[in-house]
Amino acid sequence: MIDLAAIVSQVRRGMIPAHVYADLEIFAAERDRLFARTWVFLAHESEIPEPGDYVVRRVLADSFIVARDEAGLVRVMFNMCLHRGMQVCRAEMGNASHFRCPYHAWTYRNDGRLAGLPFHQEAYGGEDGFPRAGQSLLPAPSMGTYNGLIFISLDPGAPALSDYLGDFAFYLDFYTRQSPAGVELRGPQRWRVKANWKIGAENFAGDSYHTPHTHASVVDIGLFREPKASKRIQGALYQAGPGAGTTYKLPPAGNEHSGFADQLRYVGYPDAMIPVVAATWSDRQRALVADSGFMPSAATLFPNLSFVHNWPQIDDAGTVVPFISLRQWQPVSERETEVLSWFAVDAAAPGDFKRKSYQAYLMCFGSSGMFEQDDVENWVSITDMAAGSMARRLNLNSRMGLTSEGKPVKPPLAAFAGPGVAYQGFGEYGQRHWLSQWSDHLERDAR
């Protein structure tokens, strides 16, 4: 038996018992204490634009149908037949007015209500034996949306999604609201890697320190305008609400009036988009980019949804084009994760920009992405090493940025326009912020 209290107390001081990255008991605790309660991302509304459109997504082992019903409302339903428990919808996506269970043909409308079952009169004696009214596929216990992102919680008493997102919503807008039209998601690419799900989530929450070395190859080949990845140390790392992320420090803008447009142009946004972005973001959001000079890059929303924004050169002429990706680290087991990686782009962006941004994404992230390839190599190796006996004797040092007394090595940035706390330079602030939430959950009772 593991001693959860002892593990959590080590994690809280920034020393992570290595076995937590390959431990069956920890995985069970995460399932029963963390994923049983927290808000988890399932899909984006742009994936199901028309009535009847649906996708099937999971929270660990639980399969859910995410459908747009005939009235245009988004519904999330547990994908298990009320009768014998068959998985009702076995496709990943499609369009349907009804879902019919293959076993005995119980049939549900795309809002989840039971529409009919064969031989209702003969077999059940009609409404007396089986009243159909109110019978419905189990709805997700809690559901909420933000910028079209659809989240559910398995806890019917979960706090409102907006309360949960808190200060991180400010940063979510950078990735998912560049115009009133919002973002459109394409994908996901799905692939399974022999890595623990926490490692990717932590990495995106604040590991700017790995970029110069892990991703040296993409700098070697001139995929980026900046000749050295070591400038990553100038970026700010922020922690806000349930999220944390990294930014890049941009070169100084032309002048104080053109700052915002200059910064967006520098990372490759076309002039057609910039006034729309400027009008969509708040003064404070613009100030993060223009006055503070930081452009959001990687981030993680606890527990397992990450974001990335970067701007490679997509041709020999050196055309810089930005891309955005959303990715989910879907736990399969303590040693395996399914990665779901979407390309995201402003729905109102010019077609030519969408095409180029997609190219930029494919080169960098996703199943074939040149960044992602080397990231996953690290995560698989950590998981492999964490599975043995010696890993139970090793606490991994995750204290970067802390003095021996647990104080920040450098004070937080005073002039940082965004909410939360931000530090400039390297430090595992974001990872500890993520792990602190993980610890909170593991200290609660199992549901």
């Binding site: 990943e92 499609g94 394409r186 692939w191 690290n378």
Partner: protein, 173 residues
Amino acid sequence: MTAARPLPYGDPAHLAAHQFLVEEAALLDAADYAGWLELLCEDIRYLMPVRVTTARGAGFDTLAGMGHFDEDLYALRKRVQRLATDHAWTEDPPSRTRHFVTNVRTFRDEGDDLQVESALLLFRSRGDTREADLISAGRTDLLRATADGLRLARREIIVDESVLRTQNLAVFL
């Protein structure tokens, strides 16, 4: 699927196309990526759509607007350049790969160009203890007749899994 009938197996054009695919596989298995790039046309399109599980009758089984690959020559060159650096960790130590190419059917396209369908099974082993990966796919290639012989102008890879069971696509199919 191509409606026309494939060339007879004894047709010199079919034999040339088949040999092209086998020679290409040998270059990839030898990790001679620079040599492989020389087989590609300047306007190459190298595509691998994301396959999805849909109901029979849905009318589609790939994602619209999202692939695992959608590459031009610039992107493929960058990938090859990366593998040649000292920092491409995911392929250092390198994979041991074997591209099994079979079920080759050749069709006449415009002029001397050929459309070639093949089945590919990629065996990929890394390290000493990891389980090996298998990727099964069908490919439809456009081979263009040039002064230097056949060159690959377009490849569409239809992978047979919707969820890939390989760590990444740091390999070519």
